[in-house]
């Protein structure tokens, strides 16, 4: 119970720190949101600039802006985007839905694929197929996702004409969405799988030398049983950590992949907000990401306890 309370306090403190950083970091960036909003070649008087600044609440002292921000948060109001002319909550709702579809599916597929193949490759690392897979995944993990995305686009969309170049769909039907999502999801899933593969492979190689694996073999268990009933459970702890970390990635999207495939996801939203000094969008996006990571870490803590009895055993 005391441990649980400690955790709650720890998470609450982390949350407050995150909220404070969310407010401070965008304002530490150089640049003026008002000038950015007006544009390069437009002349407006100082009076209009001040009026705009006041409308955005940026004329107030920082502590007042901060208290207003906290007050809005408590009312679940994430503010209003300077550039997208819409409440931040609405923007995030729309973008998160698409990002979950695109990055979420990729992360799940990548985790499943990478974990299973990595486990098998770690179990029998000497086979030719596993060596080849290992080389392939190392190459993939070293390839920048941006380059991988462009390469896939060049081959499958341009040369072979199998897939479209951009967007979530042509017409909003499941078939069109699946057709448009195939390439970006494949690229992201491969990238995610490569990381999971390498971690899982290393982890299984380490675990299979442990005494419990030898004991299982001595009991007469088959290879597959030893791997999938005993070793994989212990070897998956780093994967759980990685999955928790990937939650942040999930909500921040995959900027470069989104740019290549012209996808309206969280990545481009955050990037545009940084370029445009759209403080409310940055605050809202970072908050969602932070919450997702906190939640994922809490889940990871729980999963550790399920996967590894040593974690729940008192020291």
């Amino acid at each position: 119970m005391r441990e649980g309370l400690k955790k709650v306090v720890r998470y609450a403190a982390s949350f407050f720190l995150i909220v404070t950083l969310n407010f401070a970091l965008p304002r530490l960036m150089p640049g003026d949101p008002v000038k950015n909003l007006i544009g390069e070649d437009v002349y407006v008087s100082e009076g209009v600039m001040e009026e705009l600044r006041a409308g955005m609440g940026l004329d107030r002292p920082l502590y007042e802006q901060f208290t207003a921000y906290i007050g809005d948060l408590l009312r679940l109001d994430l503010g209003y985007s300077y550039h997208l002319h819409s409440p931040v909550a609405d923007i995030l709702r729309d973008r998160i839905g698409w990002t979950l579809l695109f990055v979420g599916v990729s992360v799940l597929l990548g985790t499943a694929l990478g974990t299973l193949l990595g486990a098998y490759a770690g179990w029998k690392p000497e086979t030719k197929a596993n060596r080849l897979a290992c080389c392939g995944f190392i190459t993939l993990s070293c390839t920048p996702p941006y380059f991988l995305a462009l390469l896939c686009l060049e081959i499958f969309a341009f040369k072979l004409g199998l897939f479209p170049f951009k967007g979530f769909y042509d017409v909003p039907t499941p078939g069109s969405i699946a057709h448009h999502m195939f390439l970006p999801v494949t690229v992201m899933a491969l990238f995610s799988a490569s990381r999971n593969f390498l971690i899982m492979r290393g982890s299984v190689i380490q675990e299979k030398g442990q005494l419990y694996a030898l004991y299982a073999r001595a009991k007469g268990l088959y290879d597959t049983s030893i791997l999938f009933r005993h070793v994989i459970k212990n070897a998956s702890l780093p994967i759980i950590t990685l999955l928790a970390l990937d939650f942040g990635f999930l909500f921040s999207g995959a900027l470069f992949t989104e740019i290549v495939f012209s996808l309206n996801g969280m990545g481009t939203l955050i990037y545009d907000a940084i370029i445009g000094k759209d403080y409310p969008v940055l605050q809202g996006s970072f908050l969602v990401i932070a919450l997702a990571v906190l939640l994922a870490n809490m889940l990871a803590d729980l999963l550790y306890e399920v996967a590894d009895p040593r974690v729940r055993r008192p020291a």
Binding site: G31, D41, H83, H85, A157, F168
Partner: protein, 605 residues
């Protein structure tokens, strides 16, 4: 002063109509049957059908209103016995058939434009890129022709009072919104006032517009300003005209998000904004009375990545490419040429890349030093590397030749010897022999060149050029926001920046808006306080007389050439690829190929 708007297309049509007329020889049942048949055909056209095409050189194509005029004339002469020339029966049937044929052809055809100008919000008023694309559905009052002259678009003509405070625009009388209502002067008045009240960048309208009046009698709208305003015809080439009956109920247009359709009065209306599909869809305005566009719809596809946009073009997914103030990427032109499917339109950009000195600080405040600097730069090399040959070495006069009232001044020359000589004569010498010239304060000259990441390579080249003539230079590469902050506080010696087409046209024009110290703005240098220059700007701002404006433009270019408040680095060409299957493209200096005339003139070969 009254400015009549030339209408070569309409004149061409009238000429063609005359060619198809002949003296009446008498009525007949055949004539009656023909008239009824044509009327039935035309009246049964789908509303979205073509409105006619009266292009010069296509003798049988005419707009719906012209075809109806001809039929009415035919009936009047034939049945009411009015005097006049009777159109030939073959001509009429041919024209009606051509009209129907084109309507059938165009309804299914789509013109696809690829662009890296991504629409980020479905805010018709709030998204700047959307504002440009909406010129097709909600054309501004004025436009710029291929030569850079301002001519009417929705306006038939306009006049301005002697003291330049009162502007009257006479509207064309055949303009209709896509919901069937007529475009009235009230719509124009409403739109201009609406922008002035609701958008920050047009607040100047609100601040300076004293009164406005509409006259249904002569279909005009008059704006009276509280001070002389000489660039209204240019300003009004950028504001999309809105239907008052739709927008007057929208209190906050910036926050009004709607994915369409939007009521428009151009040849097309904006049917859909689909951010997730990355496209805008324009459909034919069923009530458009002008020349019929050759395409049933126009789609603008936006790509976040330029390379992918070029791949889409090579793949045939788009018919042309558009980027405001920009060209198709030069490195990709050759690849696109190889497909054999595209031709290219090439026009000198009126925006340019230039080197801006800090005139408040020595040694750049010294004209001789700036003159030496202008000889130190290897323009040929910069043009070759930055534009891959799609550009030119600029003149001292800064302004590119594609701009109206361009004056030929001396071409900039690369001569390190001359640069060294000028510096030596001006008293900059290397007395301690360390290879770096000393300034008039006796210290080594070490210039800080402020660079944005876009111009990193140009910066490196400049550093080399300066070092060749004995000037040390440090490159300081910063992000755009830091650049603006440092530029505004004059914390630099030299900086590389660019002007956009609109930037070249703003203020007293010919780029003066970038240098006038009385102006502010993210992209402007506001580095010239010289009373002579400021007076030149004021003179240009005080007149609407074309001859006086031209004289001011020439004086401004002379000033740039003599005083070097900026050193142009290169003039680049805007290269626009277009599908070979279509012809009739042209580009204007302000919006390139994205002008209404292109969408009316371009047709299949």
């Amino acid at each position: 002063m009254k400015h009549e708007i030339k209408q070569p297309i309409r004149q061409g049509l009238k000429r063609e109509l005359r060619q198809g007329l002949k003296k009446v020889e008498g009525g007949s049942k055949h004539g009656l049957a023909l008239t009824v048949l044509i009327l039935m055909l035309v009246s049964n056209m789908l509303p979205a059908g073509a409105e006619g095409a009266g292009a010069a050189g296509e003798s049988l194509q005419m707009s719906k209103s012209e075809l109806s005029d001809t039929i009415i004339l035919y009936m009047k002469i034939l049945y009411l016995g009015e005097e006049g020339e009777l159109p030939e029966a073959e001509f009429l049937t041919g024209a009606a058939a051509a009209y129907l044929e084109q309507a059938a052809e165009s309804d299914g055809s789509v013109l696809k434009i690829a662009t890296p100008n991504v629409i980020k919000s479905a805010s018709f008023i709030g998204d700047s890129n959307l504002g440009v694309f909406a010129h097709l559905s909600n054309p501004p009052l004025m436009k710029m022709d291929a030569d850079g002259h301002l001519v009417g678009q929705l306006a038939e003509s306009y006049e301005v009072s002697e003291n330049n405070t009162q502007w009257t625009f006479y509207l064309k009388d055949d303009l209709y919104w896509s919901d069937g209502k007529k475009v009235t002067p009230k719509d124009i008045e409403f739109s201009i006032r609406y922008y002035g009240e609701k958008t920050p960048w047009a607040r100047w309208i609100n601040d300076t517009l004293e009164s406005s009046a509409v006259s249904d009698a002569d279909n005009s709208v008059t704006f009276k300003f509280n001070k002389p305003y000489t660039r209204i015809n240019l300003e009004f080439a950028t504001y999309d005209i809105l239907p008052a009956h739709v927008w007057e109920s929208i209190e906050n247009p910036m926050e009004y998000l709607n994915e369409g359709p939007y009521v428009g009065c151009g040849p097309y209306y904006l049917k859909q904004i689909d951010l997730n599909a990355g496209k805008l869809v324009f459909e034919k305005n069923p009530y458009w009375k002008g020349k019929a566009p050759a395409f049933g719809s126009v789609e603008v596809h936006f790509y976040s990545n330029v390379d992918v946009a070029t791949l889409a073009l090579e793949n045939g997914d788009a018919d042309t490419y558009y980027k405001y103030a920009g060209s198709y990427p030069y490195p990709n032109i050759e690849q696109l040429e190889k497909t054999g499917d595209f031709d290219f339109l090439e026009k000198t950009n009126i925006g340019l890349v230039f080197l801006a000195p800090n005139l408040k600080k020595a040694p750049l405040s010294d004209l001789e030093f700036r003159e030496a600097l202008s000889y130190a730069v290897n323009y040929e090399e910069i043009v070759r590397l930055e534009t891959l040959g799609y550009g030119d070495v600029p003149n001292h006069g800064f302004v590119p030749p594609s701009m109206e009232a361009f004056k030929e001044t001396e071409k900039l020359e690369y001569s390190p010897e001359k640069a060294r000589k000028i510096l030596e004569n001006a008293g900059y010498s290397d007395s301690n022999g360390n290879g770096i010239l000393e300034g008039k304060d006796g210290k080594d000259i070490e210039l800080e060149i402020l660079i944005r990441p876009d111009y990193a390579r140009t910066g490196e080249l400049l550093k080399e050029y300066l070092e060749q003539v004995g000037i040390a230079a440090n490159l300081r590469t910063v992000d755009a926001d830091t650049w603006i902050t440092m530029k505004d506080s004059y914390a630099y010696d030299l900086t590389v920046t660019r002007s956009t087409p609109w930037g070249m046209l703003m203020h007293a024009s010919w780029g003066s808006g970038y240098f006038d110290s009385r102006r502010t703005g993210q992209g402007v240098m506001h580095n010239v306080e010289d009373p002579k220059f400021l007076q030149l700007c004021d003179e240009a701002l005080a007149t609407t007389d074309p001859a006086e404006l031209e004289a001011c433009a020439h004086e401004l270019q002379d000033y740039y050439a003599e005083e070097l408040p900026a050193i142009p680095l290169y003039w680049n060409n805007v290269v626009t690829p277009f599908n070979r299957e279509f012809e009739g493209w042209y580009a204007d200096p302000l919006y390139g190929i994205y002008n209404l005339d292109n969408f009316l003139n371009v047709h299949g070969i």
